[in-house]
């Protein structure tokens, strides 16, 4: 991930994009690409090709219409709204491919879940490397305490308490974000 992507706020990034900064554009796409893709695939259950189409449309429109965004801090909900609309258009237009499953009925709850998942993901990147590593191994890679201990050269008996401490730090990060 580039320095621009990790250090700048959403509003700062939008401001630089408006000034025609190509690096900022790349960073903006990098920052929101997984988010847009998650809405398409996890929320609306679009198949790969349709999700790709929506993805292209979303960032084309963001490029064309960024100047109309009134509040630069609101770029995330604006992109989310744009993506939802384009996903619905894709579904109602008789897309090339059947969705993988039924789109989630409660759109608000679906968006809340995706937003929460991304907030957790971003908060994770602010933790120390060892914390990111231990949480990723346990929760994402489903590794046992023994495997984690062997990989990180730590006693397996200490892994559970390390995970708990890291989760406490993650919670603090998330609460700090919510307060901000």
């Amino acid at each position: 991930m580039s320095a621009v992507a990790t250090q700048q706020t959403d509003a700062e990034l939008v401001h630089r994009c408006r000034e025609g900064d190509a690096e900022a554009w790349n960073a903006l796409v990098e920052r929101f690409s997984r988010y847009v893709y998650a809405i398409c695939v996890q929320g609306f259950r679009l198949r790969e090709q349709d999700a790709e189409d929506v993805f292209q449309d979303v960032f084309t429109r963001v490029y064309e219409r960024l100047g109309t965004l009134r509040n630069d801090d609101a770029v995330r909900p604006w992109i989310a709204q744009l993506t939802r609309r384009l996903c619905l258009d894709k579904l109602s237009s008789g897309s090339r491919e059947e969705p993988v499953g039924e789109p989630r009925a409660n759109e608000e709850a679906m968006m809340a879940d995706i937003d929460e998942a991304f907030a957790v993901r971003e908060a994770l990147t602010e933790l120390s490397e060892p914390c990111q590593e231990v949480l990723d191994r346990f929760f994402a890679r489903d590794e046992s305490y023994r495997t984690i201990g062997a990989a990180l050269d730590l006693p397996p008996g200490t892994i559970a308490s390390r995970i708990s401490r890291c989760l406490r730090k993650l919670r603090s990060q998330l609460e700090g974000r919510n307060e901000a």
Binding site: F138, D142, Y145, R146, A160, S161, S164, R165, L167, R168
Partner: protein, 195 residues
């Protein structure tokens, strides 16, 4: 028994399937669900101890994760065992083995009990911590969880040994036996933690 997640079954239907003669869950599936019961108990103890145990939230999150990890193994291990038995029957009837298919199926039938044993060992470790640091009212539940998880780990290690054809030097078998020992130690700690 229907294929898929046993969570969709009523407990009575699962027990019926366990006691019946039709293909379905056996000892390894029962061990997986016993480990899941233990993980649920740890979650409960951790949640009820939030006032006195700083890391209770982290322990509850880990217990939930381990429960979610172990529940699907209950059905998967039954299906793998059925597939291995079928391949063994075909082989003994003189059927041609296709590209190591029999070996693959036997390996899968041992790999899943190993995963159950390792998850059960982690649940037992977490239960021991809950028995030591959890709220006094619930420590006996944590100790019960550790004992249940230790039983699940030991039973699963036994299936690894049986399904591997008792090769004593096998790395999987060694890992399964270590998991059973770790879980047994954790259960002893939990029982010693007191009320």
């Amino acid at each position: 028994m229907p294929e898929g997640d046993y969570l969709d079954l009523r407990l009575g239907d699962f027990l019926e399937g366990l006691s019946g003669s039709a293909p379905g869950p056996g000892g390894a599936s029962a061990a997986a669900l016993t480990a899941a019961f233990a993980a649920s108990l740890v979650t409960m103890v951790a949640r009820e101890s939030s006032g006195s145990w700083a890391d209770s939230g982290g322990a509850a999150a880990q217990a939930r994760e381990l429960e979610e990890r172990v529940v699907p193994l209950a059905a998967e291990t039954a299906e793998a065992w059925e597939a291995a038995l079928g391949a063994l029957r075909d082989a003994s009837d003189g059927g041609a083995e296709k590209g190591g298919e029999l070996e693959e199926k036997l390996a899968r039938a041992a790999e899943l009990p190993l995963a159950i044993a390792e998850a059960a060992a982690d649940i037992a470790r977490l239960a021991a911590v809950a028995a030591e640091l959890g709220d006094g009212t619930y420590r006996s539940d944590a100790a019960a969880a550790a004992v249940l998880a230790a039983g699940a780990a030991r039973a699963s290690a036994h299936f690894v040994a049986i399904n591997l054809g008792t090769r004593q030097d096998d790395e999987w078998l060694e890992r399964a036996l270590v998991s059973a020992d770790v879980a047994a130690d954790a259960a002893s700690r939990a029982l010693d933690a007191g009320p």
